[in-house]
């Protein structure tokens, strides 16, 4: 007989509730059951009004980020077996406004993602049947930072973003760094305009929890420190070349 898991889920329906409240559920689970499957079980059988984002169930689309016992995790890659005997406290992703139940408003994150010019600004044009040569080493240099699935867990983990919502945040800087390192790109100068600001890389005090919670090992904390070096070099250059700034 499958074991039972006690779950406390933070509910919030904007049209009925003034503030979030906790609803308790009891969900049967086996060795394979993921938190996402448990939430779908609740929605199909216990309370149809429970709303949450999900799609791929294989930790690649980045929809199902939420807080599990206070830790930002992907629901599809969190298994009830690891919480046997405990109560699972499920809350919406931290540091974002709650839209409804476990759905948060990610528009701040998406807007910053668009501001960082996350696209190749090419050094030289290429004909349409000719590729830029990029050795495996050149690819390997930025490849880790191109693995970000935009799930937002690092924003939920970052105390600096909690304290100052102007901070553009770990994932956006990692994406900027991914393009700044790409051998085909020449857009670093433009992206540095945003990174050089107080709310750019300079809001980061290297807590390092963003890299700890990242489900894809992108290590945004490292990207931020390396971007600080870029920004500092750019600062020095701008100060010594007259009228550059």
């Amino acid at each position: 007989m499958a074991d039972k898991m006690n779950m406390e889920i933070l509910r919030y329906r904007p049209e009925q509730d003034e503030k979030p409240w906790v609803q308790k559920f009891e969900v049967p689970f086996t060795h394979e059951t993921s938190l996402l499957e448990a939430l779908c079980y609740i929605k199909d059988n216990l309370d149809g009004s429970l709303s949450f984002r999900w799609s791929c169930r294989m930790a690649i689309c980045g929809s199902c980020g939420m807080m599990v016992n206070g830790t930002p995790r992907l629901a599809c890659k969190t298994f009830l077996r690891d919480y046997a005997g405990e109560v699972m406290r499920i809350e919406p992703l931290a540091n974002f406004p709650i839209e409804r139940d476990l759905v948060v408003d990610l528009s701040d994150f998406i807007e910053k993602l668009e501001r960082i010019k996350p696209y190749i600004i090419p050094k030289e044009e290429k004909k349409d049947d000719e590729e830029y040569l990029q050795t495996p080493t050149q690819l390997e240099k930025y490849h880790q930072f191109s693995g970000c699935i935009n799930c937002g867990l690092c924003y939920a983990a970052c105390p600096q973003y909690k304290l100052n919502k102007e901070f553009i945040g770990p994932a956006v800087i990692a994406l900027a760094y991914r393009y700044n390192l790409d051998s085909r790109d020449a857009g670093m100068k433009q992206r540095l305009e945003l990174l050089n600001q107080e709310s750019g890389v300079w809001s980061c005090t290297f807590v390092g929890y963003c890299s700890q919670v990242c489900p894809k090992g992108v290590d945004p904390a490292s990207a931020i420190q390396l971007s600080k070096i870029h920004s500092t070099t750019d600062y020095i250059i701008s100060k010594i070349t007259p009228g550059a700034d």
């Binding site: 049209e15 009004s49 949450f52 799609s55 689309c61 998406i110 290429k126 040569l133 393009y179």
Partner: protein, 604 residues
């Protein structure tokens, strides 16, 4: 009701939708695009594709070879002129993605690397480690940010199309975040909503792959073509159905049954190729339908491995070694550890066939135009005619960009020739449609549990319209689907809120799924032959005389869809016996000899 007016509306922001939006923004910079998607673009199911995208690259490869592989793979049900166009445009689109920053895997000298893939004679599958779909989608989404004329309507659910006398005028959407309906008036609409594999219970697809666009066009008179051809991917994880990319076998992985025997050689894919040295079109590199069918036969013989999650065979990658695995298949290692608690470096992965792709879709011509004027369809939701009865691995990702580009250009051209519909009349119609769609909420006497209808639909589709089918099993599924459609009319939706009302939206999605499933089942019933992924136990042979034709399903509301048949364009490659492995090699040699003899004769 809120109204948005845009020259072109695109429903679905996956590979095809984004490429179409960029195509409009580039080819017609003065036009504006409303990119409608029920999820943020980077959540679209393109993100889960792993294997790669096929495009001729190597010197020993040719467009004709890619053409032959695709048509033979599709068991000659392909529109050969469209396949010609497709194989010619494929490389160019992949280079374009490379210019936009897609991190394709590379050879030591910096040139693109390609890898072997099922059914492909010459390696031509471009790949980005084992997350090609993810990298393609993020490249497309991030590149689309460059264009200010692309206005994204994120988390907008497409409830219905507005069609006046067979011409599309707009899309009725629901802004999920704000909980309000929004009518998008457009002069042309591109549908790029992806497949409908969620009709089946056990599948590799995301929760959003519910065939919305297919059902919408179907209900407005567009025909669904070749719906009976549903691809089973041979290697999905049991239970959760997560995909183990075909690239595992492309890189040398092997499939063994409970005795450790590489059983594929018994099913026309032999002889056994040496471990770790895969040979194109042999053994594990056979096309997906053949490899899945071999599993079914092994299971019938009781030679598969029993597990609490069902029958499996072993996908063994151990001989590839840790470094190679972590370089070429890092995501597979991560998934195997997370979902079945095994490290592919030291243990074989249990796999079994899972529903993966819908070959069929909205009938379109070679330029993605549907029978409804102003409506275009691209990607998995469309049946543009290149996959036929079985899609070859890595032909789909490149299809999204090739035909996304075409759909964008065509939609832009069309929108210049027509004008917007009358706003007030259309708005009135949209309000009625919205009210009708909301009427199922809290309706009296509605007490059918949605989850149970969905589960039973999936189960009956798995049972009756699976890898092998016969008349009785399909009819049983059709009867069950009819009962489910009736029960669906009484589906219980208790949540009457507006903001993020996912229960109501799931009910609407279930409606789409049931319509698509109905079309799939009836198309399968009428095709009394075995071709590609549609294998009939009662009609095991391919019947080119009667069934070298596309099936076309026309919507009849709750009644059975009428199934008619459309001709198949054959240009260069005459239908022949579809063979792989050594037999395939012999047949190819014979065909080449015949072609040379013919050429010599003409030469005299």
């Amino acid at each position: 009701m809120d109204i948005v007016k845009a020259d072109v509306a695109i429903v679905g922001a996956g590979g095809a939708g984004l490429r179409a939006a960029i195509a409009v923004a580039e080819s017609a910079p003065d036009l504006d695009v409303a990119l409608i998607s029920k999820v943020y673009p980077m959540r679209s199911h393109t993100v889960a594709a792993e294997g790669g995208a096929a495009g001729v690259y190597r010197d020993d490869d040719s467009l004709y070879k890619h053409f032959v592989d695709t048509v033979a793979g599709g068991d000659w049900l392909c529109e050969q002129d469209v396949v010609d166009f497709f194989v010619d445009r494929a490389p160019r689109e992949l280079y374009q993605l490379e210019h936009w920053g897609c991190p394709w895997s590379r050879q030591p000298d910096g040139r693109i690397n390609v890898r072997p893939f099922g059914g492909m004679k010459v390696p031509r599958t471009w790949f980005a480690a084992d997350r090609t779909g993810f990298h393609m989608l993020h490249t497309l989404f991030q590149t689309s940010i460059k264009y200010s004329h692309i206005h994204r309507l994120d988390e907008h659910f497409a409830l219905d199309l507005i069609v006046h006398d067979n011409q599309v005028q707009g899309v009725l959407t629901f802004d999920i975040q704000n909980g309000i309906p929004r009518l998008v008036l457009a002069k042309s609409v591109v549908i790029a909503t992806g497949g409908s594999s969620r009709c089946y219970k056990f599948n590799t697809n995301g929760g959003i792959v519910t065939g919305d666009g297919m059902a919408l066009a179907y209900r407005h008179g567009a025909k669904l073509r070749d719906m009976e051809f549903v691809q089973y991917h041979p290697t999905g994880l049991p239970g959760c159905g997560v995909l183990m990319t075909e690239a595992c076998r492309g890189e040398g992985g092997v499939l063994t049954n409970k005795d450790g025997y590489r059983y594929l050689q018994d099913y026309g894919l032999g002889p056994e190729t040496p471990l770790g040295h895969p040979k194109s079109k042999y053994m594990e590199l056979g096309p997906r339908d053949r490899v899945s069918q071999a599993f079914w036969q092994e299971k019938k013989k009781g030679r598969t491995i029993k597990t609490p999650l069902g029958d499996v065979v072993n996908l063994d990658l151990r001989h590839l070694g840790e470094k190679y695995l972590h370089e070429r298949l890092p995501f597979i290692c991560e998934l195997a550890k997370a979902y079945v608690g095994l490290d592919p470096v030291d243990a074989p992965i249990p796999v079994c066939p899972t529903v993966h792709y819908t070959m069929g879709g909205i009938e379109t011509d070679g330029k993605t135009a549907c029978t409804i004027k102003g409506l275009y369809a691209a990607g998995e939701c469309a049946s543009v005619g290149i996959h036929g009865a079985n899609r070859l691995g890595s032909n789909s990702l490149v299809e999204t960009v090739v035909f996304g580009h075409v759909a964008g250009d065509e939609a832009a051209k069309f929108s210049r020739e027509v004008d917007f519909a009358d706003q007030n009349k259309t708005e009135k119609e949209a309000e009625d449609l919205y009210a009708a769609s909301r009427s199922i909420i809290g309706a009296k006497g509605h007490d059918e549990n949605m989850g149970r209808i969905r589960a039973e639909m999936g189960q009956t589709m798995d049972d009756g319209v699976g890898i092998y089918r016969d008349d009785a099993s399909i009819r049983a599924t059709i009867a069950k689907l009819a009962e489910l459609k009736a029960r669906y009319k009484k589906v219980k939706v208790s949540d009457d809120s507006n903001v993020f009302n996912t229960e109501w939206l799931n009910a609407v999605e279930l409606g789409f799924l049931l319509d698509n499933a109905y079309a799939m089942a009836y198309s399968a019933l009428n095709r009394t032959e075995s071709r590609g992924s549609h294998q009939r136990l009662d009609y095991p042979e391919r019947d080119d005389k009667k069934f070298l034709a596309h099936s076309l399903a026309t919507y009849n509301g709750d009644d059975a869809p009428t199934i008619t048949y459309g001709s198949v364009k054959i240009t260069k490659l005459k239908p022949a016996k579809r063979v792989y492995g050594a037999e395939g090699e012999k047949a190819e040699a014979a065909a080449k000899a015949a072609a040379e003899a013919e050429a010599a004769k003409e030469g005299k």
